[in-house]
Symmetry: D2
């Protein structure tokens, strides 16, 4: 198979107000015959350059109402136009431009890049198969400074980690979910709702938080809350890349450090991942 | 000279509410004698490990009320403690953790990383010289989708660029300013005010913007506005790394593209920089 | 499941001669029960810190005769020591330190980092299943300045790419293969042989090269040569990330450019991939 | 001032043999008048696009016999063509393509990227001033597994580092030197000679090495050797970014670790730098 990546900007105006979407599109194609690999016969090969043109023309003609709708448009185009395509997958990722505000007033044509979690989606289809749509958020960095511990774990002669009931929980979240039959979903609205669920499940109530006994349990809480609140989600995968912090031992320096100064532990770093679906 | 980098987290509590600062500190030292280079005599050398300990102990004892106050504390410590230090420079950069909000309610101990411009500062001092403080913002990505052009430039036989009066202006800003005599400035407050000036000068009024005839002129507008509004700033340097976007020519594809689809031009990319002080 | 990454250096001496391996080990574990996710019950969880200790102790006790043997050692240790482990995968990657030579004389304890392709391997095992070993090379950047073209491809109304019979072929190779039943293979020797096959198949004979009608065909040539020369390889996957170069049109600048000055095309960039096994 | 970056490939043939240089050129210009900043008057501004065209045309017409000659050509062109240019600096950096060899036979048109130190140069000139040429190497990673220590350093109540007489010395070298009056130097030959000096001074004799009492002293040894062997070098700056490795304490794991397993210390990391000239 082959894939390629295209970056571009899509502008549109409503009156004098400007709207901008900057996206990176990655299209994977697999052809029905591998003859270009085996025989060097290129007659069915759709060049990268053509794929780029198609993506740009679709963006011009249809706009990008949501990443998901655009990914679906691209899949449909390849499946209906090229009978030599056996499989197509489209990945679309957004540059997080947000409208600039001055004293609370939105600016009509100025934007600032705010990368607090990157939105992406995927649409994939095999010939004669259903169109499957995924959406997700990545590079979302979160931290809880208390209400987290790690105790009661398995111990043997290689164990040196002490038990802790008040550590820092910090990590980078990757979250990807699939929709079932894609009807007329409001993908933008659902995405925002899921992002809120993630933050709420990670942090707990604003006034007191909620104790996390492990990264794994926090991953599960996120999944459970999303599945319970957002009926359109069928399966949800969460990966949490952990950043550990150690309280600096300052005894030799004549100072008591009561979890006030901590250093990140670069290695080992870990991640935990889980995929959860509906019964 | 030598320098080194230390990353750590400083927590503190007010009642049940948690506050977090994660910083990267870089300390440069130059000694009065270069004997460790020339003779391999280490007797005056302050090891990296000791510098790290000092920075962490200062963070514990004094906290980080502002990056600038912390940088000043470090400079002062090295100058007063080590008579073999001829020069010290401290660079402090912040990881942009922001308090998480749920439905507008601030969370007492959860944070999200929002890198929409990174705050940093520098303090430097030669023995017997004044302590000079700089502050700045970097990695601030901004875009205007209209009200920008580039016309009337110098032309010769190597010119192929067409004149444009409605292009995209997009770039990554680096901005660094120096304070004069550092009295009891409210560094946090000043920094926020300067950030607002930058955004305002870049974007212009929210309802109509302001025409930019060049990246250079936009750089100058930012400097002028900061100098006029913030009396504590003595000199201000602005560097704008430009990202150019080309309107895709779709004529061969049978489509009219009225500045709706644009692609970033990876190379050449440029930057313009200017340093401006008070008379 | 969970995974984590450990970086370390393993030294050993033979007489006065030093040998060094710096590796990054990534261990994935899946437990038989997901109770730590669902119930927050950590009693079977093997902490990241323990995994790190095990990897370091194994490195100390067994050394790293080859990446593959070390990966196998780790897998075996986890499977035989922890009955709660249902699946283990170990990825080992090497920092490419090479012995320094002065006027052709090898240095007994000095090394230089030469990243012209990174060696890695993987070993994975399900409980009661076979141990499967993969090896590979990544980040190998190669270029042919001639003997490459792309013609006869599929064309429609979105095609703008001209046919070319003398273009640059440049890309970054990723190559991963699996071994069958792992007997007493000399993994270091096989790896070097496969690397040579890749270079030979990419470049063709030194005096004339060999025409490549497409990236895809070059990928296939690499696979065919490896399978024909190295009997231990069962399946081989090759991914070639293409870098395209365009001949700069200098007509408007009054200069003829006969494929002498070219610029890289940043987007779209593509990749082609293929997996090939024995019948 | 403004600067911009251009990446391109320059090919040439001698008979059937191909030669390739891929470079990144960065040109900084300062104009005699800052009117484009202050007034938005662009009439003297040389657009990025024009600078790119000039660099590409020069590469086509003059080739790139050495990075230094090409950088000088660019400086000369800007100074003699544009009277509004007050200052020009050109930075040229090479992508380290090396000719591929098969069984020791050089290939006529195939290359492999081997980034074991990146060659760069700079040429700068003020109007009516001399043309100054610098050259250098960067990203050169070296390691000595013995013959390095750090003892007798300054100690106080913040000192926790133990003295060591057999540690790992590992780091990334940056080295930049200036030539005096640039006559008809063979820049390619000098550069290779200096690279050899650096390696020799870092490592010492191949059969026994040479003891380094500190990173600083190693930096000085490199400078002294280059200045003594290469008469064309006037001033030389060396920066060594240190990577520290700690011997893992395995006592709690029941294992003796005699400097066999070490882990890199990510923070603090340091660097030491020195600039040395002739008397």
């Amino acid at each position: 198979y082959g894939k390629n990546t295209i970056k571009f900007l899509r502008l549109h105006k409503e009156g004098k107000k400007h709207f901008v979407k900057e996206v990176e599109v990655c299209a994977h194609l697999r052809l029905t015959s591998p003859q270009e690999y085996l025989d060097g016969n290129n007659s069915l090969v759709i060049p990268t350059d053509t794929i780029k043109n198609i993506v740009l023309v679709l963006a011009k003609k249809k706009g990008i109402p949501s990443l998901e709708e655009f990914a679906i448009d691209i899949c449909n185009h390849f499946m209906t136009t090229f009978c030599q395509v056996a499989y197509v997958k489209t990945y679309v990722q957004e540059v997080p431009w947000q409208r600039l505000h001055e004293d609370g007033v939105p600016h009509i044509h100025s934007f600032i890049c705010v990368p607090d979690g990157i939105r992406f989606c995927e649409a994939e289809q095999c010939r004669n198969g259903p169109l499957i749509v995924f959406a997700g958020i990545k590079d979302l960095k979160l931290m809880k400074t208390t209400q987290s511990g790690f105790e009661g774990f398995y111990k043997n002669e290689h164990t040196t980690l002490p038990e802790r009931h008040d550590r820092i929980l910090c990590g980078e979240l990757f979250c990807k979910w699939s929709y079932g039959e894609c009807k007329d979903f409001d993908f933008n609205c659902i995405w925002k709702k899921i992002r809120e669920c993630i933050l709420e499940a990670f942090a707990g109530p604003p006034d007191c938080g909620e104790y996390s006994p492990s990264y794994q349990k926090t991953v599960n809480c996120i999944q459970m809350l999303v599945l319970s609140r957002v009926s359109q989600v069928q399966v949800i995968e969460v990966v949490l890349n952990n950043t550990f912090y150690n309280v600096v031992d300052m005894k030799n320096l004549g100072v008591t450090n009561d979890k006030e100064v901590l250093v990140p532990v670069e290695a080992p770093y870990g991640s935990c991942a889980c995929t959860l679906g509906r019964k």
